[in-house]
Point group: C2
Chain length 156, copies 2
């Protein structure tokens, strides 16, 4: 077997493995749809907590909502921002700014803050018996949402 | 002040309170969008676990995904199926069947199964060191997804 033939076989194997990986990897539009969905679910749950702070306080409702936010904040949302998703459409055109894909240090810092404050809220929720006990940590959490939106989200 | 006038004032107050509540309550299209988002997030995470069962097994990835599914399964998704959301559009036209809103006993039963198996998977994940240890519980969980889809979800 010549080197040329071996090399051709190696190339074919590589191409074939490459295709297999590409076929299994989620499509960019799926990744964008999933991240848009995840942030909607977070919005639903922050809205539920806000309603408890404004109205009669239901601790169970706050615990459920805070657990959902914390689970998603720690779920690895960063995986949904693959390099091939800088533009494209999920449920709608992505609103991520190009800077998200270049300023990785800042992305990592803001994601860490979000995860930290969401985890703290979920830990506090079962102990917090009223709005006054929960509110300071909720304000800390929503500040991390705003910081990331200000830096990396285009207005729709 | 006459009774008639008092009665008019009472009616106006009632109407005004009614409007205030309606303004605060999420719109049907928001509820539908949130539930469609929640089920997309669950699909993302079941897909991640499936990939771990088929490929190299990453326990941390499974734990993160299982926690997200369990948090959403226990988040009170039923609140997103208010009576005024039998038809309507979130990201797309709802695919819920009318039976969902009449056969509440079956809905409750299937929701309980989903929640129970999702919680069990999240409890198992940190202990399961490989695909073989996790798979039986994952199969149990996805069976509860299918049971509910078969009963209450129109094909799109």
């Amino acid at each position: 077997m010549t080197f040329k033939r071996l090399s051709l076989i190696a190339t074919l194997i590589t191409l074939s493995l490459g295709s297999a990986v590409a076929a299994d990897a989620p499509k960019p539009e799926s990744l964008i749809k999933w991240r848009q969905s995840a942030f909607q679910v977070i919005a639903w749950n922050t809205g539920r907590i806000k309603a408890q702070l404004e109205g009669p306080y239901n601790k169970d409702e706050v615990v459920r909502a805070a657990n959902s936010i914390a689970a998603l904040a720690n779920s690895g949302l960063g995986n949904l921002f693959a390099a091939n998703t800088q533009t494209g459409k999920g449920w709608h055109d992505t609103t991520v700014k190009p800077e998200f894909f270049s300023d990785t240090a800042k992305v990592s810092e803001l994601a860490t803050h979000f995860s930290r404050e969401a985890t703290a809220l979920a830990q506090l929720a079962p102990q917090a018996g009223d709005a006054a006990a929960l509110k300071p940590q909720f304000v800390k959490l929503t500040a991390t949402c705003k910081a990331c939106h200000d830096a990396f989200k285009r207005s729709e």
